[in-house]
Symmetry: C2
Subunit: 123 residues, 2 copies
């Protein structure tokens, strides 16, 4: 990320305007509103660079393509809407995760996903 280009500015702006995790296609669609000739390879390369730089974080959902979100939101998990396919941040966590661990196993991290219908779709 040595140079400032309109493609990169547009991609950064997408994340400043959208706080929940976005797919590569989401980012391409939104950034192309600013830079119509933007190619998907540039989106992949820029997302990778922003992750390496620590500005973005990869969110991997089971059975779905990777999504990306801003870093610095603190420990949180995600909710995936079965209707509109959008992914939302959830605050908080659950205690007692280590009680599920079999003897001799070492816990290093965990992931947690809720599925259902979001408030917009339920209304």
């Amino acid at each position: 990320m040595l140079r400032k280009t309109e493609q990169r500015e547009a991609i950064r702006r997408v994340f400043q305007e959208n706080h929940d995790p976005l797919s590569v296609q989401d980012v391409l669609d939104k950034a192309q509103q600013d830079v119509p000739r933007l190619g998907i390879a540039t989106v992949y390369r820029t997302l990778k660079a922003l992750v390496d730089e620590g500005w973005l974080k990869v969110v991997e959902l089971p059975g779905d393509t990777s999504r990306y979100e801003r870093t610095g939101k603190g420990h949180h998990h995600h909710f995936s809407c079965n209707k509109c396919e959008r992914v939302f941040d959830l605050e908080g966590c659950l205690p007692g995760i280590d009680t599920l661990l079999p003897p001799g196993f070492l816990l290093q991290s965990h992931e947690f996903f809720l599925y259902g219908v979001c408030a917009d779709c339920a209304a």
Copy 2:
């Protein structure tokens, strides 16, 4: 699944002898010990048929290819070893999942993954 073939018998046997979730490649490798000419397309087709039949269940892990396990094990979650890449079943669950839900959201299901080092690798 109308006919009984040696390919299908070999794939079923793999799951009777291995109780944790297996990847397509795991199944191919193990089943080829019985049926060396077994092709990967047959593994994909057979796994799909066994899932449709309700004999297997798909286990999707974040950022990994799908795995398959026998149905009928009851509600449980999974542990993925960061060293040997094996996936293990975990018994039990955590209470209070619905407390993480924002107002207006409907909960339909959840997934939970622990990561770390398994007992074999820690020893």
